[in-house]
Amino acid sequence: METLSNLLHGFAVALIPTNLLSCLVGVAMGTIIGALPGIGPSAGVAILLPLTFGANPTTAMIMLAGIYYGAMYGGTITSVLINTPGESSSVMTTLDGYQMARQGRAGVALGIAALGSFFAGSMGVALLMFFSPLLADFALTFGPPEYFALMVLGFTALAGLSGTSPLKGLISVLLGLLIATVGLDVMTGTSRLTFGRLELLSGIDFLPVAMGLFGLAEVLVGVEKPGGFSIDKADLSLSKVFPRLADWRQSRWPILRGSLLGFIIGVLPGAGATIASFISYALEKRLAKEPERFGRGAIEGVAGPESANNAASAGAMVPLLTLGVPGSATTAIMMGALMMYGLRPGPLLFTQNPDFVWGLIASMYIGNILLVLMNILMIPSFVQILRIPSALLLPLIVVFCVVGVYGLQNSLFDVWLMIFFGLLGYAMKKLDFPTAPLVLALVLGEMLETAFRQSLTMSLGSPAVFLEQPISATLLTLSLLVFLYPLLASLWKGLARGTR
């Protein structure tokens, strides 16, 4: 009952004209960002963050969340029409979505993806609404050792799961943590790793780093290939977008399964929408009566993964809002933004800032309705955006990054930092080092160090404090298992082969 009254209060906040407009702009921009190949939700949120300067935190976060889940919808458009995923979580959609387009069913593929995403997104928000307060209450019992262990789990999960090598992921985490130590030490006020530069005294802000790693680096990857995209002519009129009854029959269970699976995977740190869509596709193929249809235009191969990636984006908001520990690159950027606006994500957010939390949750319901309408009525308009030549679009992104980063503190030093991190991010991408753990570590670095030092202060310098508390001991053991999982899995495979 309390949840319902909170939600009603949230709708009152979300329906304020500025918040409604912010939601509309966010979901529209998100759909466009998602549709542009190479620019994923994390890049989109980082690049468009400056648009929220000057707005109040609720309005700003409504827009950023809109960009996030809007990008999940938008990623489908290019997957279906040009066999190029707009972002990594839409990779599985190319397998059957593009085949459907080649069979003249592009409209149905996009339609079922939009309607499935709507269902999954709404269900994800409902689950977020019911589980978040419970998790937040539980998190109130956490002290510094538990928070330290929780953050370590977030890092190892993201490092272990976000790239091909956990070692590279861990190097990325350490780099982020090291960057986070630059500036004045929060506990003693000592200047650290500033090398005499006054600009570094306040530390390295996450925005130049995120914009460099996700914005400029993506542009450099994008300019490698000349030209734009050739789009096949597809009938995307309204009558062709609505799925038929037979399509519904085939899609209803994959949508439901994808929604539940996506939400659960989204909550787990490091897993996220891409893994959710991969697992959903594999599950649907395994459950199908005729698995040979998959890869040849099976509608279940679009409905399941698309529902899963949207539900995952709602699930990813759970650890961000309740624990203050983001589990993905996009939520790490959103957390950085929240801190920039003076809000501290975590269990107290629900009690101290109910307007913000419930306004955001309510706006996600509204955003999902706006998105489904937009994605059914306006698909042809979004397709037109793909016709913008990359020689215009990519420099425009650079311009927006430069002006946005400059606007943060009116400082050209931040622009130079952004360029440095852009080049670093480009090298990392080319050499297969994941960049998301670096941003997450940068955002959480100060909190991690504070929790660590507070824990040792509590225990008079004894590191046993982390193992004496049951929750922190469990979380640290889990971190070790998550990190060692690839090694253990390969050992297990080797042993299994040896016994054969």
Binding site: I171, L178, D185, T188, P389, V403, Y406
Partner: protein
């Protein structure tokens, strides 16, 4: 690719060494608890250790170039123009530099009609001015031209 992998790891090792040296000058332990030097010292040590492990155990593909020749030119030009534009901002001002950068980039990357490129180079700075300077109140750098 093998050389790029080597250079990148050497860069990380250098970064770790510089951070370690700077961290050693800070207080490591004070009154039974870690001081401001504790975290950066251990982080730079761990970074150096893991980078060394990755350098010694990594299998780097030989004969695969980091970038193929046409892409080298495009990436170098984009990076170079971005650096040059940032250098020019204090002298020319943010808005004229944006116009010149957009025109230059679309000309160099190709595939855009001259009229479209010129219109974009003209209209985007105006849009940026209204969005950032007027709406968001961000004072953009002004050059010797006065805007």
């Amino acid at each position: 690719m093998a050389r790029a992998n080597l250079y990148f790891r050497l860069f990380l090792l250098l970064l770790a060494a510089v951070s370690f040296t700077a961290a050693r000058m800070l207080v490591y332990w004070k009154e039974g608890v870690p001081g401001p030097g504790f975290f950066p010292l251990w982080l730079s040590l761990l970074l150096a250790l893991l980078t060394a492990v990755s350098l010694l155990t990594g299998k780097f593909p030989r004969g695969v170039p980091f970038l193929k020749p046409p892409a080298v030119r495009r990436v170098a030009v984009t990076s170079g123009l971005t650096l040059l534009a940032t250098l020019l901002i204090p002298w020319l001002g943010m808005l004229p530099v944006i116009g010149l950068y957009l025109a230059g980039m679309s000309f160099i990357l190709g595939g855009v009609r001259r009229r479209t490129a010129l219109l974009t180079a003209l209209l985007v700075p105006i849009g940026i001015y209204y969005l950032f300077e007027v709406w968001l109140g961000v004072p953009l750098p002004v050059g010797f031209l006065g805007f």
